[in-house]
Assembly symmetry: C2
Homo-oligomer: 146 residues x 2
Amino acid sequence: MKEREIDETIREYLAERDIRYTGGRRAVVRALQIAAGPQSAADLHQRLRRAVPLSSLYRSLAMLEEAGLLSLHHGQGKVARYELAEWLSGHHHHLVCMECGAMGDFELEATAEEQLLGLVATAGRKAGYQVRGHSLEVEGLCGSCR
Amino acid sequence: MKEREIDETIREYLAERDIRYTGGRRAVVRALQIAAGPQSAADLHQRLRRAVPLSSLYRSLAMLEEAGLLSLHHGQGKVARYELAEWLSGHHHHLVCMECGAMGDFELEATAEEQLLGLVATAGRKAGYQVRGHSLEVEGLCGSCR
DNA sequence: GCTATAATGAGAATCATTATCAAAACACAC
DNA sequence: GTGTGTTTTGATAATGATTCTCATTATAGC
């Protein structure tokens, strides 16, 4: 989906649930659309300084995640990182820098993804899990840290 | 490796580095050997109550991780979870419960693991990462939460 | 415009984790 | 064994990310 389309989709999605799509919330969503991977509250606060105070930022992130529009990841370090949910941005996986903690996205080809799905289903069945999703995390040093 | 062997390996490993393998540290390692997946400091503190006070527990975890004997993961929630490093326990992947945050381990068959390694190498190269490791995270509901 | 409800912002509170520092355990020489 | 310098420990204070509180402000529907 393109930015404009995502924005409109989110508006409708929230409207159905009687949740307002306010300026602050939209600013958060827009910042996440632009970003190349999951962003921490601190990352976003830097971009949104005066537009969205920290306490509201945290609240918007929690609210949007609760509503199913964002997904939450904990890569390296002790900070939470958010990104658009996969039904908005598309299924993908993550690269995590062991040094600076930055996270990036990448996609697998369709055939590779299918193989992976098979592995995941088997692993879940064996462990008695009801599988809801999966993610391949690649750890290493990013371009700036290597 | 078996428990006894791991214990001995760790003793030697630490001795080479002039680090003492004290009772508290061994208690932490043993608790992690027994566990079925990554454990949080709180998890371990419950098992080790009087044996290892919380501040020492945190310090031992940090020290053992720093030394390369433990690895650190952030599944769900905001707590850090530790487990034995893969060179001691063997390479594996994780199941994460979206409800209670518990983490479990699973292994892939050799052929599947090789395929995965190929995908990981490609993704890393494209993104300019120097790859150091990878992990397939399966999210869902565990036996108790489903 | 009025009213009920939802959202915001500033600051206090919480919780996991880290740092501090004096006391205890250790390794090694004498 | 005793002394001595170094590690490790444990209790506690400090930190930092996140969450909560509550008075104020914005919004939607009438």
